[in-house]
Each structure stands twice: as structure tokens, then as C-alpha cells.
Amino acid sequence: MSNGDDSPDSTVPLLAARDLAKAHGRTEALRGASVELAAGEILAVTGPSGSGKSTLLHCLAGIVRPDAGSVSYAGERLDALPEKRLSELRRTEFGVVFQFGQLIPELTALDNVALPLMLAGTSRPDAHARAGEWLERFGVRGQEALRPGEMSGGQAQRTSLARALVTGPRIVFADEPTGALDSLATEQVMTALTHTARETDTAVLLITHDAQVAAYADREVRLSDGTVAPEFSTEATEAAV
């Protein structure tokens, strides 16, 4: 999967990062991390706190630019794109969910989910109709008029997922989407996310420190000190104490 020049589409990763480096001040968050995501694949990125998971997600989603290395999305170099094209990609091709859903507190669940569609030019009635369908799909039926402060954590996260998927993105980036939820709400959110992603052939890059959440994914990569650990380490590599 290293060279996509003449290969059919199915063998080209949808998203590929090579040798990413990124420092925050004097702290090196990423030190040569490489990762690939296939179309429709659900990939869990795990690792201890401070291993660079969130920074990796930010680089892959085009939210921050890496200091070195490359990020390619469907053959396009994200790290070299002008900001205008990057923000268009983020709006149309990517969906993002964080630990705390970052719903707009003044808006109802329905308006929160309809917002990305309206920003893209969909009329208000059409946007509301589609937002309603997505809320139903995520089991938040009957809660359309609630504001984020009136919902449970699980309902708010499922609303955030509906908002991330309503525009039909090809990739959803989820950063600890269940980090603030109990185990039953986690199960509901992860089941909703993975079932929907598989049904709609949406790829998911899932950041988590929780192995039970990572087990919903098709595959796992481990980050350690800003690099991706080999899936089976056959050499003696002493973990840092």
C-alpha cells in the first residue's frame, strides 16, 4: 500500500500519514508517526496519556499542520493545501467528534445537527428533515427540542455523532468520544457509531485509551512516545519506565 501511482482505488489508503513530527513548544508530541486508514475502515489509535494521540488526530484532520512529514487524503497533500481548501475539506469530507461534544449550548438538538447542512447552503426545512432522520438513527428520537444542557451525556454524544455524520463525510475523527460516559452509555454510543459507519461505508479514526472501546474498531495501532509501535514487536524493545 506504499505507492498508489498506478494502483486501483481499492489499494490506495483513503488517508495516509508518513513520518509526522509535531512539537508543542519544546515538547515533541509526534516523532515520525506513520499511519494509514482505508476507505470504510474503523481504526482505533490507542496509547498512554501524552503519547501523541490527539496531536496525530489534529494533523490527520487538517486542524493543525505537522512540522515535518506528509498527510495525504485521497491522493491530495493536506499539509500543503491552502487554508481555504482545507476548511472546505473539513466541512464536506470530514466529521469530528470530541470528548465533550462541543454542541452549541443555545441551539436545540435538531438545530445543532442541521447547522452543518445550513452552513453548506441547504434550506432550513430540508436541513431540519435530514437532521431529524439522523437523530432518529442515533436513537435520540423525541429529544429534538432539547438543548445540550438538558440532555444526558450519552444523548449529547449521540447528537454530536449525528452532527458529524449528517453531511455524509468519508471520514469521522473521534477523539475520546466516550471519555466522559459510563459503560452503558459508552456501549450505546459506540454501537451507534460503528453500525452507522459500516452501513454508510464511512471510515472512522477513533482515539481512545480504553481497550474496550478500541475493540469496536477493525484494527488498532498503538502510539508510544510520538511514534507508532509495531503491531507485533519481534525485536526486544524495552518500554520506557
Partner: protein, 180 residues
């Protein structure tokens, strides 16, 4: 499931009414979906021991045109023994039996590669956790399936957390094992 008592499970299944061995085996496998299926031989030997100990008795035999089947029922002693067992606290980890830890220590003693072993074991655990997650989130999965998968997932997760900590402390552990 650790230390599971087949005789008490069979007594529990008999509590809802008389039954024969084949039916007990089938109901056991349905009730405990992810458990190791009961072997017929084990069911029949256990039933005979229950009868010997006065906890069950033979209700009768019928053949329904097929092979002859013996129907068993629980006795009053059987019900008392079942109630005693069901209310008894399971001893929380009286001995620590941890094959993974044993392999790490043996690997250190024999100059092997405990870090590589832990990484490979982690990958195997994750693979099994993905299987169990798929089983429990499959559409139409019943609650017994979800609960037994959850039990295994939580235990595998506990192993993983222990392995992560151990991997991070291998240098110290190696020094300690080598010095002893």
C-alpha cells in the same frame, strides 16, 4: 467461568422441573452462550452422582420411539443444596494464578524477550475482544449473550491494563528477578 460447579448448574436447571440429560445439556448451552459447551458424558456422570448423593432422583424413562431417555428431578435436599450454593460468596481470588505473569518471569529467567511476548499477547487479547464485541453488538443479540461477552471483555481488559503496566516496568522487574 472459573470454578464453575456443573452439579449446581444442573440442579439449577432441574429447579424449573424434571428434565433429561440431553435437554439439560441443550438448556445449559443456551443459558450460558459463551461458556464451554457441556459434554454429554459429563452431564450423565454428574446426574448419576446427584442421584447417589440424594440430591436428584430418577423420575422415569421414556423412549418416544427413539433411544431410551431417563428423566431426572431434584429432591428437597437438592433444592436446599442449590439454595446454599447460590447464596455462598465466591472467594475473591484466593490464589493469584496468572499464566501471563508466569511466562514473563520465566522469559526473564531464561534470557528470553518478555517485551515481545507481552506485545504479542496484547494483540491476541485485542483480537479476542474484537470478536466478543462483534458478538455482543450483532443485531438481535440476546441479553444473556451480551452479559457473558461483557464478563469476558471486562476480564480481558483487566489483563490488558496489567500487561501495559508490566511492560512499562520490565526493566525493574528484570533487575529484581535476576538479583533473586
Amino acid at each position: 467461568m472459573i470454578g464453575m460447579s456443573t452439579r449446581h448448574i444442573l440442579l439449577g436447571l432441574l429447579a424449573s422441573g424434571p428434565s433429561h440429560g440431553y435437554d439439560l445439556k441443550r438448556r445449559h448451552d443456551e443459558r450460558f452462550p459463551q461458556a464451554r459447551p457441556l459434554a454429554y458424558g459429563q452431564v450423565y456422570t454428574t446426574l448419576q452422582r446427584l442421584v447417589r448423593d440424594g440430591l436428584a432422583l430418577v423420575e422415569g424413562t421414556d423412549s418416544d420411539g427413539g433411544p431410551e431417555r431417563t428423566t431426572y428431578r431434584s429432591t428437597e435436599d437438592g433444592s436446599r443444596e442449590l439454595a446454599r450454593w447460590a447464596g455462598e460468596i465466591a472467594p475473591p481470588a484466593p490464589f493469584v494464578t496468572n499464566e501471563i505473569f508466569a511466562k514473563v518471569v520465566v522469559s526473564i529467567l531464561s534470557g528470553g524477550d518478555p517485551a515481545a511476548y507481552l506485545a504479542a499477547q496484547r494483540a491476541a487479547h485485542m483480537e479476542r475482544m474484537r470478536e466478543l464485541t462483534a458478538v455482543k453488538t450483532a443485531k438481535g443479540a440476546d441479553l444473556a449473550t451480551v452479559l457473558s461477552a461483557d464478563y469476558a471483555l471486562n476480564h480481558l481488559d483487566a489483563d490488558l491494563r496489567w500487561m501495559t503496566t508490566t511492560a512499562a516496568r520490565l526493566t525493574t522487574l528484570t533487575a529484581e528477578v535476576d538479583a533473586a
